[in-house]
Amino acid sequence: MIDKRMASCREAVADIPNGARVMIGGFGSSGIPLRLIEALRQHGAGDLTIISNNAGVAEEGIASLLRDGLVRKIVCSFPRSAGSVWFEKRYQEQSVELELVPQGTLSERIRIAGAGIGGFLTPTGYGTRLAEGKETRVIDGKGYVLEMPLHADYALVRAAQADPWGNLIYDTAGRNFNPMMAMAAQVTIAEVDTVRALGELNAEQVVTPGIFVNRVVAQERQHVAA
């Protein structure tokens, strides 16, 4: 029987090694796998490359990984927010490397990694500093930048509901980067509010098919401090 459930977040992240490339879902305070991030922090793997839209605020989530010095590099569209003090500190002391990526380019680079596509041409960023050093071309008078796939070893994602096959249903805007990240990693670990029995999810409402998910950890719903 296919059953992707694991007993704890701790167990689910236990094999993440030093130097791993780890995608982490979420946008602002929405759809962040906070329990998995905390388990990863306690697990203590370092020298990580983190791929995520934001860089965490206060002492929470990715900010706690930055605080503990576990992050070597971050690939991000909007690392600087109100309260992103640990990112700013590590950036200014040059102990963390930043690869800044426009948001739509970030999500599409993740998607194409999951879709087996080797690169794509986007008009986003053409003629700007973020295209420097990248291959460009002009098609029908419009400029494009060639962007390459972003793969990861692990993806930590957050959803509302799952089933034992790893199918995921999200809550409102909690989808954000989670569905693409689930596609793009070698091992995808989903933190969910509840696991339903096989066949209880609405098949028409499943957003992430279980084929993209390797491990599922249920938990009580966590309300994220705003």
Binding site: F27, D171, N178
Partner: protein, 213 residues
């Protein structure tokens, strides 16, 4: 000169949003525009994190931590709204499906170049978010900004000195002094607020303006 306050500026931008438009309002000042879209205008708001049909803020105690807009504020969903992932959200933006995006700006050039994501201060880490995608993708890009910086420097320039968000992307500029279109002939003043005179506005602008016709 008459300088509109932010609420008046928002009201003026709102007047230029046609009924039935799909609109993305940038973080900060542009967010106020929604307050002035009248009942005759049905506008569907897009939020880059994955919402179409963004509604007003929820009542206290009714917030859903997952249901936020791109500015990380709690919102609601209107009847007829829906959710999608970030890749699809940016397909809408980059693919030309949004009628209008309203963004703030540090600088706009006479060719419609936009600079709104980074200054020349390297002390702060940069952040770009969805600005570059909106800049290239929205059918019409409205810039909403004060005409001058706090130390009275012009923000409309022959060329931007700050790093670009996009080149040749701005359609119309709404400042606290005037409404100005970016046209192939140059910066065309469309409207001068109150009794503002063309030569007064030109004097505080860093690029040549074309007078209203």
């Amino acid at each position: 000169m008459l300088r509109l306050n932010p609420e008046q500026m928002a009201q003026r931008v709102a007047a230029d949003i046609p009924d039935g438009s799909y609109v993305n309002l940038g973080i900060g000042l542009p967010t106020k525009v929604a307050n002035y879209v009248s009942g005759d205008q049905q506008v569907i708001y897009h939020s880059e994190n994955g919402i179409l049909g963004v509604g007003p803020a929820p009542a206290t105690g009714q917030e859903n931590p997952n249901l936020i807009n791109a500015g990380k504020q709690h919102v609601t969903l209107l009847p007829g709204g829906c959710y999608f992932d970030n890749a699809e959200s940016f397909a809408m933006m980059r693919g030309g499906h949004l009628d209008i995006a309203v963004l703030g700006a540090f600088q706009v050039s006479e060719r419609g170049d936009l600079a709104n994501w980074a200054t020349d201060n390297d002390q702060f880490p940069p952040a770009v978010g969805g600005a570059m995608d909106l800049a290239v993708g929205a059918r019409r890009l409205f810039v909403m900004m004060r005409h001058n910086t706090r130390d009275d420097q012009p923000k409309i320039l022959e060329a931007c000195s700050y790093p670009l968000t996009g080149a040749g992307v701005v359609s119309r500029i709404f400042t606290d002094l005037a409404v100005i279109d970016v046209t192939p002939k140059g910066l065309q003043v469309v409207e001068l607020f109150g009794d503002n005179r063309f030569d007064e506005v030109q004097a505080v602008t860093g690029a040549r303006l074309l007078p209203p016709v």
